[in-house]
Every structure is written in C-alpha cells, then in structure tokens.
C-alpha cells in the first residue's frame, strides 16, 4: 500500500522535477522579457479569465437547474454537461469548427452578424470556455446539492422571498464550491491546447496562448519551451493554491469552516 502510494507520488512528481532541473535561471529571466512570451502570457490570462467568467454567468443558472429543479432527462443533461471533460479537446475543437466555422452549421448566421470566431481571439475564448465550463458547473452543482434544503425552507417561512434566500443563504453557502470550481476551471483553461489550436489556430498575439507558445517553441527552441513550461506550471500552482485556500476559507470564516 505504502510502496504503491509512494510510487504514485513519484510518478506524478518526477516529470515536474525533471522540468525544473532543466531550468537555467538566467535563460528563464531572459525568456520572461521576450515580447512573444509577454504577449502569450497576457493572452492566456485574458482568455482564461474571460472564459471562466462566461462559464460562471451561464453555468451558475445551469447548475441551479441541475441541482434544484425536477427536469425530465436530467441524467442525460448532466452527462452532456460533463462530456467536454472526457472528450479529447481536439475533438471538441473539431466540433466547434464544423458548428461555428465559416462553413459550419451556424457559421453563415454568425458571419451575417459580422461575427467571426475561427482563428480569432473570440474563437480561442469559445474553445477554452467549452473545455473549462464543465469543471465549474459540476462543482457548483455538487455545492448546491450539499446545502441543506431545510436552511432555505426555514428562510422562506421566515419571510424571505426567492431572491433573498438566494442572496443571503444559498450563495454565501455556495462560496467554497464556487472558489474550488473557479480554481479548477481557471487552471484547466490556462492549460487548454487541443480545442484552441483546432478551432482558433496558432496566431501569435491573437490565439497563441501559453500552451500554444510552448508547442511552437518546442519545434525551434526547446530551452525556451522549458522556460515557458515552468512559467505555466507556476501559474497553475498559484491558481490552485491561492484561489482554493483564500476564497474557500476567508469569506465564510469561522461559520462555514467549523459549521459542518
């Protein structure tokens, strides 16, 4: 048991250590200053943040429906929501392309409206949202299911209308799930590669996010790829640790931490 556990840890950590061992601090700092890197990093942060915000705006109501409303075929709906999690991202990108691409099903309609998604930053945002939203939605649904319905019932009989119950009871109690969902979705968004390159292409400054920049650098300049990889690794770690630790514990404070 112990040996297998240690083996698992070694398997997970060894590649990361390998990456770190390749790090040349001087080259790393030099890489950080390059305009391509700055552009890729800025694009990654912007795309992933916008994608998570979109996922939140659309995903919170959907999670509420899944958790609280008796819908026919809810199992199927939940399966569909989770599908992008298990779908190879490149297939997701392909699906987006044949749906929203210039010759796709809705491509004509979007084109008529003057919206062009494939091979634009907008397309990268769509691809990243498609891939990261399920993490947020399923996390929110689990969080909603974990809230004791009697709390909301008690609030309702005490005179609180639906909106007030949502604002004063449901959402505050949902904060830990919200925080971990955002952290997971954002980290996933930051690392998105397959769907983005398939749907949005690899255009420097427009759709070349960090993972795409790493892929590109690997063809011509492996040390640069390593430096970028470490940067992305650090970013993902920061996302997980900061968001999870902070948002989950602080706002609810003593009440939620000790309450259940």
């Amino acid at each position: 048991m112990l040996i297998l556990g240690l083996l698992a840890v070694a398997g997970l950590v060894a590649p990361l250590c390998g990456l770190l061992l390749q790090l040349d601090p001087g080259a790393f700092v030099h890489q950080l200053g390059r305009s391509e890197v700055v552009s890729a990093l800025g694009l990654s942060l912007a795309v992933s943040t916008i994608a998570v915000l979109i996922a939140l705006v659309l995903g919170l109501p959907l999670a509420y429906l899944l958790a609280r409303v008796d819908l026919p075929g809810k199992g199927l709906l939940r399966g569909l929501v989770a599908l992008p999690m298990v779908l190879p991202p490149v297939v997701g990108g392909l699906a987006l392309l044949v749906t929203f691409g210039r010759r796709g099903i809705f491509g004509g309609i979007l084109g008529g409206l003057g919206i062009e998604l494939p091979f634009t930053t907008g397309g990268a945002i769509v691809a990243v949202t498609f891939v990261c939203a399920p993490f947020l939605i399923l996390s929110l649904e689990a969080g909603l299911l974990a809230i004791d319905p009697r709390l909301e019932a008690a609030a309702a009989t005490l005179g609180a209308g639906r909106l007030r119950v949502l604002r004063t009871i449901t959402l505050p109690l949902l904060r830990p799930a919200l925080a971990s969902g955002i952290a997971l979705a954002w980290a996933r968004a930051l690392g998105e590669f397959g769907a983005t390159i398939t749907f949005a292409g690899n255009l420097a400054g427009e759709t070349r996010t960090m993972p795409l920049a790493i892929y590109t650098a690997l063809q011509v300049d492996p040390p640069a790829a390593i430096a970028l990889g470490i940067l992305l690794l650090a970013l993902a770690l920061v996302a997980l640790v900061l968001l999870r630790g902070r948002l989950a514990v602080t706002p609810l404070g003593a009440g939620a931490g000790e309450g259940r």
């Binding site: 019932a153 008690a154 609030a155 209308g161 007030r164 505050p172 003593a254």
Partner: protein, 249 residues
C-alpha cells in the same frame, strides 16, 4: 390568529387526508409514528409542499385552495424545522434577526429585537457566536427565538426538543412552555415524547397513516389515549395508569 385546514397532500410514500383546527393562542401537540406524515403536514401548512386538494386558512386568510396558493413568506407562518437548521454562516443574533430583516425592518431595529429575544430566552451571552459554537440547548433557543420573533399567526415546531440531552431537556421544555403561552398565534408542536405532550399541549392529535385517528384536549387524551400508539407513548413515560388494567406490563 387561528388555523383551519382541510387538506389532502402527498409526498413520496406518505399521503395526508385530514382536517385540523387550532384556535388563536392554542397549542396543538401532534404525535404519531414515523412515516405517519407529521413533517409532510408541517411542510404543507408552511407552503413548502403543495396540497393536492382542500383549503388552508391562517388567521382568517385563505392561503391555499380554491385556486389560491400563497408562497411561504406570505403566509404568516414560522417554521422551526427538525434539526433546527440554523444558518451556519451567521451569528446567533443575525439568525434571530433574519425574519425581521426579511420583512423589511432596519438592521439596528432587527438586531435590538433579536437581542431582546435572546435575553428573554436567557442566552444573551451567545449573541455573537456562530451556530457551530453553540451547545445543543443554546442552539435550540436560538432557533426558537428566530421562529417566534416575527410573531407568526401559525408557529410550526417540528420536534423542537429532540436534539437535546436529558439534562437540558427539562429546562428547555419549561422555557418553551412559557414562550408558547405568551404567543397569540396558533401553535403546532410535533413530538415523540409524552412529556412534551403533557407539558405543552392544550390539545392533542394523533396522526397515523396520514389521518387523524384521535383528537381531544390534553386531559381527555391523557385519561383515555384511545389509540395503541398514544397509549404506548404515555406508558413509556409513566404518564398513564388505568385502574382497570396494567397496560403493557
């Protein structure tokens, strides 16, 4: 401030079909075996579960039936649910003030009134504590204060003392009795404990299989339980001994 209800309702395996009257100021203690529909009834009266037919009138206002269905906040009810359901992310005083805030009272006024109620229930010192740091007896009083502060026309208490240990139960029961007596509305108390029935109830109703199988004043029901369930419940606490026979001994 009375309740008049004649209703059918259904949730899962339990279905209700009954008529219930509680006068203003009166406390009705409702007892019955598990699965007899007690909590279903409470939820139906509170508006958390739609009735399938019948009508419910609270304080002279039709709240459900004949095409009307008022949502819980508009019924003048307050529910103290099983397990208390204190809001874990609010302090004790904010829990108590919740109903007043929800009904549009200002924060300062709501807080002052909440503190008043906590003092009345002899737990003023826990006002700023989070529910997770309250003892069972303190939590029970906070939940009671939270329910009664809105002066509901119908107060629903679902096993209000069940979470307490023996030592705090007796004093909690006395305090609950005093509090209930001071309220002008109709009060419905669900319990499995014959001592609650004997201490709190003006009247008693026994629910079995979704129907009321026995109803009467406390004195009547103590003298003549009329159903096996109530008889067993009373005997368990030594509250019933007939001259003619020694029941269940």
């Amino acid at each position: 401030m009375s309740l008049q209800a004649r209703l059918q309702a259904r949730r899962g395996p339990s279905s209700l079909d009954l008529e219930l009257r509680i006068a203003g100021g009166e406390t009705l203690v409702l007892v019955g075996p598990n699965g007899s529909g007690k909590s279903t009834l409470v939820d139906a009266l509170a508006g958390l579960l739609p009735i399938t037919s019948g009508r419910v009138e609270i304080a002279g206002t039709l709240v459900e039936g004949e095409g009307v269905r008022l949502p819980p906040p508009e019924r003048g009810v307050a529910l103290m649910p099983q397990g208390l359901a204190l809001f874990p992310h609010m302090s004790a005083v904010d829990n108590v003030a919740y109903g007043l805030r929800a009904r549009g009272h200002g924060e300062a006024e709501a807080r002052a009134k909440a503190l008043e109620w906590l003092a009345r229930l002899e737990i003023a010192e826990v006002a700023e504590r989070s529910p997770s740091r309250l003892s069972g007896g303190q939590a029970q009083r906070v939940a009671l204060a939270r329910a009664v502060i809105t002066e509901p026309s119908l107060l629903l208490l679902d096993e209000p003392l069940s979470a307490l240990d023996v030592s705090s139960r007796r004093s909690a029961r006395r305090l609950l009795h005093r509090t209930l007596r001071s309220l002008p509305g109709a009060k419905l108390v669900i319990t499995h404990d014959a001592r609650d029935l004997a201490a709190l109830g003006d009247r008693v109703a026994v629910l079995e299989g979704g129907r009321i199988v026995r109803e009467g004043s406390r004195a009547e029901c103590l003298a003549d339980p009329g159903t096996g369930y109530l008889l067993a419940m009373l005997c368990e606490q030594g509250l019933y001994s007939s001259g003619e026979q020694e029941p269940l001994s």
